[in-house]
């Protein structure tokens, strides 16, 4: 019989969305017991790597309408327009709230007020920044502020494995493994929020942290919740070689040039007005065209690449505003960006898709919300604008934290506590201990993982073909069903071999969904560019894709569609 830990609200994931949700829930009522459960130590989540900015309308000559329009245009009109409106209306408050909690925003020299910079796809320089370590500072501010609340408890290095429901399909907790001891434990709670971030590690060349695997998405998917718009994977124009570490879009926002092997600023061909500051999908496609047509450089790692040139910005500006990436360039590429241009290539960076939620971040399950990159509330549609992601985490962290708190308070007052379905716990134990921990197979899971991520890199990249996607899907399915699922490390304590194999298991299911949904969308929209269908097709595909788990890895996912919400922005062709 596994032990049970009781909380009012459990938050799974400790990035910007998770910590913001914790504070929001904790300040709703200090009698609520809140657990933040993280598979890493709480302040280590991948949000720390966000670099460039958080978009918000805070200057007098900027306006909300413009931010909403830019977001919807950036989304290639697949954003739910009411959701984009809410993002834009709520984010200014978050910027000031962080300022009050100690965030070291970069400030204007003349009056000490919060400064902003240009970012891609915007018609106003509205990316609020703190040098080029925005995510790191936001995380630090939120982490430290969490410490003020005695009712927020951190569970460092607890790996959640499954969502538990009660008989009438209400959320009632999760199962988790305490990594330090290896104990398998149940958390029982009135409400839950999934904030486990994106899953970009299903690609090899990726800006994501090693920990950004789809465990959270997969947990929801296995519990019967839909994943929405998973075909839309954002490739950021500037990842350095060979590691894929990000050079912030702020580098172009501050005036950096992208150049090909002829020394041309080639973006003038693809986005004559905005050039390097077009939206990311447009810039990445421009770059891949240049590479296909032979105007790239050969990197030492062997792949083709282009360069970003920042040398004309001058040491002072680079040091003050881009010091972090200068450090990264020197350390991880051996190049000082203040002195020479640096090799870059489009790199997997963000997943527009995620757990299907409504405008409030509520999932299809009572008592369960989702926020941040793990969720797909359809703010970003088919392509997210830079600096809108940290914004989304903050806004829906706050919203879901508050709603989950109110829901938990209401259930507490009615003494409504549903009991855990023991059969679910037994099934989950079977799945992970019999199926994985004591699993068998000749293949090395780590090699299988590399094959999976390489397949995603080559078959579901910036430009996609039907044949490539179909072949990728077949390969992923064959691999998924091959004999690899086993753990060599038999210890209970801090068994990351076990954790890794569970992560790989979840990567397969999510990769399958990405490929399948991409195959189903016969058009080019935002980050999803199909060679055979080069145009956007509003008549047939102005809709969100949904994917449901088929019940076992032997069955194909079930797919469906749902409509896009419009307010008053009419779809038009995008030009930058």
């Amino acid at each position: 019989m596994t032990d049970t830990i009781f909380y009012d609200i459990i938050i799974i994931g400790s990035g910007i969305a998770g910590l913001r949700a914790a504070i929001s829930a904790a300040s709703e009522d200090n009698n609520l017991k809140i657990a933040v459960i993280s598979k890493v130590q709480v302040m280590r989540s991948h949000s720390v790597s966000a670099e460039g900015g958080t978009a918000a309308v805070i200057q007098e000559d900027d306006n909300l309408e413009s931010h909403i329009y830019d977001t919807i245009k950036g989304s290639d009109y697949l954003a739910d327009q009411d959701v984009a409106e809410r993002l834009v209306q709520k984010i200014p408050f978050e910027i000031y709230q962080l300022e009050h909690w100690g965030m070291p925003w970069s400030r204007k020299k003349e009056d000490g007020r919060i400064d902003q910079r240009w970012f891609g796809g915007y018609s106003y320089p509205r990316a609020t920044y703190a040098q080029d370590r925005v995510g790191f500072f936001e995380m630090q501010t939120l982490y430290d502020t969490c410490l003020k609340y005695e009712n927020i408890h951190f569970f460092n290095e607890w790996f959640c494995t499954a969502i538990l429901t009660s008989d009438n399909d209400n959320f009632c907790g999760v199962t988790a493994i305490e990594m330090k001891t290896g104990d398998f434990i149940k958390f029982r709670a009135l409400a839950g929020i999934i904030c486990t971030g994106g899953a970009g590690r299903i690609y090899s060349f990726s800006t994501y942290a090693y920990s950004s695997t789809p465990d959270g998405l997969d947990m929801a998917y296995r519990a019967g919740l839909a994943l929405k718009d998973m075909e839309f994977v954002q490739f950021h124009p500037t990842g350095i070689l060979p590691s894929g570490i990000l050079i912030t879009e702020g580098a172009r926002g501050e005036g950096g040039y992208l150049i090909n092997n002829k020394g041309e600023r080639f973006m003038k061909k693809y986005a004559p007005n905005k050039l390097e500051l077009a939206s990311r999908d447009v810039v990445s496609r421009g770059m891949m065209k240049e590479l296909e047509e032979g105007r790239g450089f050969k990197s030492e790692a062997g792949v083709d690449c282009l360069k970003i040139d920042l040398t004309h910005l001058g040491m002072e500006k680079i040091q003050e505003r881009l010091g972090g990436i200068r450090e990264i360039g020197i350390k991880f590429s051996g190049v000082d960006i203040a002195e020479e241009s640096i090799q870059i290539r489009p790199v997997c960076h963000y997943m527009m898709g995620g757990i299907h939620t409504d405008i409030d971040g509520a999932t299809e399950m009572n008592g369960l919300w989702s926020a941040g990159e793990a969720a797909c509330n359809s703010t970003h549609g088919a392509n997210r604008l830079g600096a809108n992601s940290t914004a989304e985490c903050l806004v829906w962290g706050t919203i879901t934290g508050q709603l989950a708190a109110r829901y938990a308070l209401d259930r507490k007052s009615r003494k409504s506590q549903s009991s855990i379905d023991q059969q679910e716990v037994i099934n989950e134990e079977k799945r992970i201990y019999d199926g994985i921990f004591r699993g068998s197979g000749q293949l090395n899971p780590y090699e299988v993982r590399m094959e999976l991520t390489n397949t995603m890199d080559s078959n579901a990249h910036v430009f996609r073909t039907e044949r490539g996607l179909a072949e990728g899907l077949k390969k992923v399915r064959d691999l998924m069903r091959s004999k690899w699922k086993h753990v060599n490390d038999t210890a209970r304590e801090y068994n990351t071999n076990f954790i890794n194999v569970m992560e790989i298991d979840s990567m397969f299911r999510i990769a399958e969904v990405v490929l399948l949904c991409a195959l189903n969308r016969h058009e080019s929209r935002g980050a999803h560019a199909m060679v055979e269908y080069p145009k956007r097709d509003d008549a047939n595909f102005m809709k969100h894709s949904l994917a449901y788990f088929g019940g076992s890895d032997q069955n194909d996912p079930k797919t469906d569609w749902c409509p896009v919400t419009f307010t008053h922005y009419k779809p038009e062709e995008r030009h930058y």
């Binding site: 991948h46 709230q97 400030r107 000490g112 919060i114 942290a209 590429s333 051996g334 071999n497």
Partner: protein, 303 residues
């Protein structure tokens, strides 16, 4: 007196910089032009294509004794210690316990002692070790072991929390104030400069591992926590003022630090915790209950 110490400290810092051939005046960047060059030649003059990684192994709950395993790692020009460990874990021994995440020196997970010195594995390029054929990885000192290179940070986090590391101000929660929720405190460039370098702390624990005082007194908050106490004390938005300093004016508090300076030497983000501690002390001389007593004790010890 305090000013003298700061001058000395700064001199010490400069000397360390010049010893390491590093240039921190332009923003604390550890320049290392060696990294990412071609594979290194070893002392015998041959091009190196592999290196031996010696890894500390322990499972504390099973057996309190430890041993080392050696792994041969193929070397590429940009291989970091973290890459090497992940290679070993993936292909040579799946049971190695390591903690890592961002691989870009932002998250602070992969602190360990590499050839004896506390460093981040992701931020240490193997090409730096021209002379050695073997690189040894040990867990951070001053932290209890969990398994292999993974240590327990509970006490370290508790020390940080004890500093009340958040802005104390009745207007801190925007929605609870009478001000417009869309107003800011505002800070001048100079205001920000006072705390900025201390806010680069990623809580990786390297300074804590290097600190000789922590090694002898686990109640001592350590350089990370103390520098964060200063970071919030000096922030113009914070009004806790002297109450913040009282937290650390304790027998086991700030006065235990005897300026070994090793904390500042190992920080991967260019934070100078020793300077933070010094600046904090400056603020405390006027009212501390413990300063004289502890200074006397330490004076005796050092004699």
């Amino acid at each position: 007196m305090a000013n003298n110490i700061i001058v000395k400290l700064k001199r010490l810092n400069r000397r360390r910089e010049s010893e390491r051939g590093e240039n921190t005046s332009d923003g604390n960047i550890n320049k290392n032009h060696d990294s990412n060059d071609k594979p290194k030649q070893n002392k015998k003059g041959k091009l190196r294509d592999k290196i031996v990684l010696k890894v500390f192994r322990i499972n504390y709950t099973k057996d309190k004794s430890h041993y080392y395993d050696e792994f041969e790692i193929p070397l590429q020009k940009s291989t970091t210690v973290l890459d090497a460990l992940i290679y070993a874990k993936s292909y040579l021994d799946n049971s190695i316990a390591i903690r890592y995440s961002c691989r870009m020196a932002s998250c602070g997970s992969c602190g360990m002692r590499i050839n004896g010195i506390p460093r981040l594995a992701c931020y240490t390029n193997l090409s730096e070790f021209e002379e050695e054929d073997t690189i040894t990885c040990d867990p951070l000192a001053n932290f209890p072991h969990i398994r292999d290179l993974v240590t327990d940070f509970t006490q370290f986090y508790d020390h940080h929390k004890q500093m009340k590391p958040y802005i104390h101000n009745e207007n801190a929660d925007v929605s609870n104030t009478r001000q417009s929720p869309l107003s800011e405190f505002g800070q001048s460039h100079e205001d920000v400069e006072k705390y900025l370098q201390f806010s680069y702390c990623i809580k990786c624990g390297l300074c804590y591992s290097a600190c000789p005082t922590v090694a002898t007194d686990t109640k001592f908050p350590g350089p990370q926590a103390l520098s964060q106490a200063y970071r919030y004390y000096i922030d113009t938005r914070d009004v806790m003022d002297r109450d913040r300093l009282k937290i650390i004016d304790d027998r086991h508090g700030i006065w235990r630090c005897h300026f070994a300076g090793s904390c500042s030497k190992v920080c991967p983000k260019g934070v100078d915790p020793a300077l933070g501690i010094q600046l904090l002390r400056d603020q405390m001389f006027s009212f501390s209950k413990h300063e004289k007593k502890i200074a006397r004790e330490l004076g005796r010890m050092n004699r």
